[in-house]
């Protein structure tokens, strides 16, 4: 997003990236719907489970369970170049072309004004930035009960996709019990998505094929690589891949960027007038620590605590597979008990079909033969509720770089993360409240799955915004204190991490940081 803003402002922009692309030998996914492919395509195993069943995970539940074989390149080389040492935190990072956006769930919530302020973001400028980003990527949304938690002040957007039967029923039950649920702090609405329901340029509207976890053939879901592909056509944009940025050294007239060439491990130095880091909160933290830090320096870390709960809608068990099922979340349920639109937790509801039965079966403590019979019967009534909670900095959440001779970068990222008693108590009580609310809407929780800290894949706050010039802090413009021309345009600066997914907000912030870079030119 920052690159697009700079290019549009006619700046000369170079993007350095590792940028691993999908294997060229990967099978092309036909433009057919999930059910048709299941019934007819003899090559479906290649994209549903991967060659050699490489996409069939075994062992304990971890993050990224929904990363399917066509998107596995999201994880390539991460262990080698972004090593992490932690017994308490398991992050998911990417060196892929388009980063974590390759598998992003498309949720585009605006933060509320109180949450923007708490995060250290300029609420007035952010509201305008949200619209800019929405116009660029295409967002589908609905004006409904939960507007102040979802689309906020967004004006131009496309209509939300049609809900499938599971979500339609839940939403109808919500409307029937709205008064009671609202009084308890629950507000439900359509999730704004980076998904188009009308054609936009070369991108085609959503075709309801229920291949959302596998295919981007029509580009109806916005992915960062779509924007990078477009930028590559511009004369003032250069994309250089195959380089891992390690650190920078700011000189008088320029900044040197030290990189590792991933093809041969050699170090290469680039130069630039201004440097914008947007490697994600963890990636940018590594670069800054290498550049300006000393051994032992610690940075704070924010990450939304996350769990998911499979729920059953009894009225939909034992039904036939649904043609127009959606893999993306369709409904968001906010819990804002204080009615302040600040500090709410959010549950995203997902129907289940295209991620196949086998992924469900392994969680059932029965023999596989009977588990298949049972889960096949239940699957049509299954809704997954993924619950995110806000996060504040504490002394128990931090990261630091430690030297290591075993890694190509010469270091590894040590992360420590835990919740205190108050945080745990609040989360437990909120999750209980969500479970009760879902029961009122005809969906009954089967169990709670805790995939561990880091599994929300929402990271922030490693270089917090500050009005005071301090090491490892960002000026509100995004400029890194201690430098004149280095900026950070991802979520590193957030002082607080609201529960709704941060993608839309970090893109809006990136746009603003890029604007600041241009304004501060000269």
């Amino acid at each position: 997003m920052a690159a697009q803003t700079l290019v549009e402002q006619t700046a000369q922009v170079t993007m350095l990236d590792v940028g691993i692309e999908k294997d060229a030998s990967a099978v092309a996914i036909p433009d057919k719907d999930f059910l048709a492919l299941r019934k007819n395509d003899p090559n479906q195993h290649r994209y549903f489970i991967g060659d050699g069943a490489s996409g069939v995970s075994w062992g304990k539940v971890g993050k990224g369970e929904q990363i399917t074989p066509p998107r596995k390149h999201i994880l390539d080389l991460v262990e080698k170049y972004l090593p992490v040492d932690s017994s308490s935190f398991s992050p998911l990072e990417s060196l892929g072309y388009g980063g974590l956006g390759i598998g992003w769930g498309l949720q585009c919530w605006e933060y509320s004004k109180p949450d923007l302020t708490a995060s250290g973001l300029d609420s007035t400028r952010m509201l305008s930035a949200y619209q800019t980003v929405s116009d660029r990527i295409g967002i589908s949304a609905t004006k409904d009960d939960a507007n102040s938690y979802t689309i906020g002040s967004l004006k131009d957007y496309q209509q939300s996709p049609t809900m499938d039967r599971n979500d339609q029923h839940i939403y109808q039950r919500y409307l029937a019990k709205k008064t009671q649920l609202n009084s308890q702090g629950f507000y439900m609405g359509r999730t704004p998505l980076g998904l188009i329901t009308e054609d936009k340029g070369a991108r085609k509207k959503y075709a309801y094929r229920d291949m959302d976890f596998y295919s981007d053939n029509d580009q109806s879901a916005w992915r960062p690589w779509i924007t990078v592909n477009d930028l590559k056509k511009k004369a003032n944009f250069t994309y250089i891949n195959g380089y891992l940025v390690l650190r920078f050294v700011e000189k008088k007239e320029y900044t040197e960027i030290y990189c590792l060439k991933t093809s041969d491990g050699k170090q290469v130095v680039f130069r630039c007038r201004k440097l914008i880091l947007a490697a994600g909160a963890l990636g940018s933290a590594r670069i800054v620590l290498r550049s300006l830090g000393n051994e032992g320096d610690r940075l704070p870390l924010l990450c939304n605590p996350y769990s998911y709960m499979p729920c059953i809608q009894p009225r939909f068990v034992g039904q036939e597979a649904e043609q127009k099922k959606l893999g993306f979340t369709q409904l968001s349920l906010f819990l804002d008990a204080d009615h302040t639109n600040s500090g709410a937790s959010v549950a995203s509801l997902y129907s289940y079909q295209s991620l196949m039965l086998f992924r469900l079966i392994r969680h059932v403590p029965l023999d596989f033969k009977d588990a298949r019979i049972l889960m096949r019967y239940l699957m049509s009534g299954l809704v997954i509720m993924g619950v995110h909670h806000p996060d504040k900095p504490t002394s128990e959440k931090y990261l630091q770089l430690t030297p290591s001779k075993k890694t190509p970068t010469g270091d590894l990222l040590r992360i420590s993360y835990s919740l205190n008693e108050n945080e745990n108590t609040l989360i437990k009580s909120r999750e209980k409240a969500f479970t009760k609310a879902m029961r009122k809407m005809g969906a009954y929780t089967l169990k709670r799955v805790d995939p561990g800290f880091g599994s929300s894949i929402h990271y922030a706050g490693t270089l917090p915004f500050s009005s005071a010039d301090k090491p490892f802090r960002l000026h509100p413009s995004g400029r890194l204190y201690g430098t004149r021309r280095v900026y950070v345009a991802d979520s590193s600066g957030f002082n607080y991490l609201p529960a709704p997914g941060l993608a839309f907000s970090l893109m809006a912030n990136a746009h603003l940081v890029a604007q600041n870079v241009v304004q501060n030119d000269g």
Binding site: Q44, W58, G318, L366, R372
Partner: protein, 131 residues
């Protein structure tokens, strides 16, 4: 494992899971998936050998393992076969949800009870086989 023995194993697993034969494609995919370098401990070796000699025991052992050794190599192989079968047009009808009458609940209840009974037997059998 030789091709012959992986084929036999794949056929046994498919018959157990779906009461159908494995297709040539399924056999090939299973061989590809299994011939990776996963080390098998003594207990799993014994269980696999026992299952090969006594095919009737597969369901019982499968039922007991979630409680004794949930990530057993036996379960992993069965799971891989299950995924291979699901991702095949030859078996889609065994996996895609179908409209069922309310009376189907009786069959579900029976399957549940059967699973519990097998699990109890499995717990005993696994301990005997792996001692």
């Amino acid at each position: 494992m030789t091709k012959n023995s992986t084929d036999q194993q794949a056929q046994a697993f498919t018959h157990y899971l779906l009461k159908r034969p494995a297709t040539t494609q399924a056999l090939g995919l299973y061989e590809q998936a299994i011939n990776n370098k996963v080390s098998i401990d003594k207990a799993d070796h014994k269980l696999l050998a026992y299952i090969e000699k006594h095919p009737w025991s597969l369901g019982v052992i499968d039922a007991g393992l979630p409680y004794l050794k949930p990530y057993s190599e036996v379960r992993r192989r069965l799971y891989i076969m299950l995924a291979i079968l699901e991702a095949s047009p030859d078996y889609f009808d065994a996996f895609l949800p179908q409209k069922r009458s309310p009376l189907y609940l009786i069959y579900i209840a029976y399957s549940g009870l059967r699973a519990i009974a097998k699990a109890v037997l499995g717990l005993v059998l696994i301990k005997v086989v792996t001692r």
